[in-house]
């Protein structure tokens, strides 16, 4: 028999970026809010305290801050005719757990979005015709425009303390020749902080990109270029390029996180309560299944607790949002055979390629341990639809960049092609090239397809007896074309650096999705937003079409992947959703969009 807690106005599942933003916004509106976080309490101290945090083995190799996959994971298969097996060890993606979620140990690349990507299907149909989009590709529009989101991008950057160089502000070009991105959409304000310094690797990328006619710009970074106080009064110190961002809690209070940038304000808020070690099992629905009545969770001791609430925010990691909807029976599960149903539909990833360049030991010294997770130089010449896709025959774009986030020795793979894997020759090459190499990426937008989807696994369970989520996923011909094309275009930058050797890794025909090597944790979709309840799980305000007092913010709402990193759009959409709850829903609870 579950213990029943006192009813609150809103309960939030998960305390990462979306949970923290929602908690702040809803308590500002006067609501009593409880946030339930499955993992432990985490903060700069003790989780990011110097010097114990400067430990690659503990935090990167053994993944101390990440989701505990001994208890819950996902299963994987390449097609619906294969058996799915558990993701038993971390590889391709690294979701978080604990207070701050993945927002505690992310890198800090903080983009907005290219406006055309919010209306991707419409844009491609208008410019290239309906037939250009391949059969089986299920991309669609988000149902919200860049102009509508701009104030929320702007506010999120102020909360995060983002460093960068604007190209244009209110229509006036301000960033020409200063590191602005000529392909960037217009902004209402400059970045809160000027761009960070650029590493030697990023400077070399910038020169080489210019030499081949591309348009390099400073990456927008949620690592501070100077001291900063955000609108919530949270204080940040200047980033010192220690190189311990991704996988680590920032010891310098320089990387934006829910813990540093929002939690200090919520701690002062008597209407807010954060309960850790609280694993939500399901969202409870009323007898007519039209409204949620709250959630049931396991507390730290494993006792079932029911938390009644008028509003339920599902703000966990992308695939946990999808899983909780499926476990709760909210929305119709997606069926790949018919293409019907919405929960689990349009699961998409990121389509990354990588090039490394190696200099002679008397050549450039790049000191790759110097880094900041959001810092670097990029080009957008081939991102979004900034070039003519017509002759190329694929959908999607890619920024290219040097994003030197701090390359540590265990995880560094810094030997030129042809070097033996181990032994004296490997040792000599590692010694010769570690401080004389540059790594660059084509980040690659990934599209959604009818055959890539999420559902509940019929066999495997988590430590609490509930089915794991199953990912059915593989690269499609469009992805391979994009990867090959982008690697070729990025290779021109690598060659312009006049290196001694180059190694390139792109997707190739016949090669399957490889879950064993890290790519990125940018997983998208499965509970997507849109304008039609037949093809989306939530409306433009992240509100469930089926159960209107349930909101599901996060990358689970993206109908397909972006060229850029997702966190900036996640934050803006969450503020957009929160504002709709505050200004519309609370006055008239019910659907904010009529189906």
């Amino acid at each position: 028999m579950a213990t029943v807690m006192k009813k609150v106005d809103a309960v939030i599942v998960g305390f990462g970026w979306t949970g923290a933003i929602m908690a702040k916004e809803l308590t500002e509106a006067g609501l009593n809010v409880v946030a339930l976080e499955r993992g432990p309490m985490r903060d700069t101290y003790p989780d990011g305290a110097y010097p114990q945090t400067i430990d690659e083995l503990t935090y990167n190799s053994r993944k101390k801050l990440f989701m505990d996959i001994s208890k819950e994971t996902v299963t994987l298969r390449h097609s619906s005719s294969d058996i799915a097996v558990p993701y038993r060890q971390f590889g391709a993606f690294l979701p978080g757990t604990g207070v701050g979620g993945a927002g505690l140990h992310w890198s800090g690349v903080h983009f907005r979005v290219d406006p055309i990507e919010l209306r991707l299907r419409s844009h491609y149909e208008e410019r290239y015709g309906k037939k250009f989009i391949p059969e089986g590709m299920t991309i669609q529009d988000f149902g919200v425009s860049y102009e509508e989101l701009e104030p929320y991008f702007d506010f999120a950057e102020k909360v995060f303390g983002t460093s960068g160089t604007a190209w244009s502000v209110k229509g006036e070009i301000v960033g020409r020749g200063k590191g602005g991105n000529p392909f960037a959409a217009d902004r209402s304000n400059p970045f809160p902080l000027e761009a960070q310094k650029n590493t030697v690797s990023a400077q070399l990328f910038q020169k080489a990109a210019e030499a081949v006619g591309y348009h390099p710009y400073n990456l927008p970074s949620a690592n501070t270029s100077g001291p900063y106080t955000n609108p919530y009064g949270a204080q940040m110190g200047p980033c010192n390029f220690c190189g311990y961002c991704s996988g680590y809690a920032c010891y310098m209070y320089s990387k934006a996180s829910p813990n540093v940038n929002i939690l200090p304000a919520l701690r002062q808020e008597p209407k807010f309560e954060l309960r850790v070690q609280s694993h939500v099992l399901r969202v409870n629905l009323g007898t007519d299944r039209k409204l949620a009545t709250g959630v049931t969770y396991l507390d730290a001791q494993g006792r079932e607790v029911e938390q009644p609430a008028d509003i339920v925010i599902i703000g966990a990691f992308q695939f946990n949002n999808v899983r909780l909807l499926l476990l709760s029976g909210i929305g119709k599960p997606y069926d790949p055979a018919t293409g019907e149903g919405v929960i689990g539909r349009n699961f998409a990833y990121q389509n990354e390629s990588n090039i490394k360049v190696f200099f002679d030991k008397n050549g450039h010294t790049t000191n790759p341990f110097i880094g900041a997770g959001g810092n670097g130089v990029a080009v957008d010449d081939f991102n979004a639809d900034n070039f003519d896709h017509g002759p190329e025959g694929f959908v999607g774009g890619s920024p290219f960049w040097v994003n030197q986030a701090g390359t540590k020795p265990i995880s560094a793979a810094v030997t030129p092609p042809g070097t033996p894997k181990w032994g004296s020759a490997w040792k000599a090459a590692t010694a010769d090239y570690y401080t004389h190499h540059i790594s660059m990426n084509a980040h690659g937008a990934h599209q959604s397809y009818r055959v890539n989807y999420l559902d509940l696994d019929p066999v495997y369970k988590d430590a609490y007896g509930q089915p794991l989520l199953r990912m059915t996923f593989d690269w499609q011909p469009n992805d391979i074309k994009l990867s090959q094309f982008m690697t070729g275009k990025m290779r021109r930058i690598a060659e312009a650096m006049n290196p001694k050797a180059i190694s390139a890794h792109a997707h190739e025909p016949g090669k399957h999705f490889d879950a064993t090597s890290y790519q990125t944790t940018h997983l998208n979709g499965g509970a997507i937003m849109g304008t039609d309840p037949a093809t989306s799980a939530v409306n433009r305000y992240m509100q469930s079409w089926d159960v209107p007092n349930v909101f599901v913010p996060g990358a689970s709402a993206f109908p397909q992947g972006l060229g850029y990193n997702p966190t900036g759009l996640i934050a803006a959409l969450t503020y957009f959703s929160a504002r709709a709850i505050r200004e519309q829903y609370l006055k008239h609870p019910g659907p904010l969009v009529q189906a």
């Binding site: 994971t73 097996v85 495997y460 399957h512």
Partner: protein, 242 residues
Amino acid sequence: MTADNDPAELPSRRAFLRKSLGLIPAVTLAGGGIAGTVLARAPSTAAPAPDAYRPSYFNAEEWAFLHAAVALLIPNDERGPGAVEAGVPEFIDRQMGTTYGSGGLWYMQGPFHPEVPHELGYQLKLSPREIYREGIRECDAWCRKQFGKPFATLDATRQQHVLEQLDNNQAAFEAVPAATFFAMLWTNTREGFFSDPIHGGNKGMVGWKLINFPGARADFMDWVERDERYPLPPVSIRGERA
């Protein structure tokens, strides 16, 4: 030590090891060239140095194997100390006592399908401790069958060839695929060579000095834009300076 089925914990096994010390030293002295030579040279009567590390998980044969194997993976050569000198065997032994060693960081519920494509990741039911125990046992048996003696006592050329065969999965092992065992050994060897000395390897920060990684300095504001060698030697979490 909470090992299940750990032969080193059984009294009869210990007695056997004491008797066999004359053949294979349970504690290998640091500072000798490649492990094969260490073993050949090690006098049976030598007392271990007082500060020498005594393995908690590995038995004498396994300990000898580890020394011999990691000495070839990262050799002591003209570029500087190798994995043995860095304390990689100690590092790996200590890792066996962690949650990682017992497989506690992995999802380990069945059913198990090791036959699926390798791109879907590790699918065995073995923990790292079990992979080492089975892998070393099988490798020594395989070497005995072919050459009449265990891996650690083969000459370096033959050891090199055996490791290549493990790496390429050309050795048919029963309990654990040779390439899986090799991949774990190689990963742990790099970890032990390059991780902070607090974990038992990278002694004297020799791994970091080799590549000019400054360790736990973690403050580079003055060097971000400089295309030149970083001038300061590494420091460790405990504050040691190389």
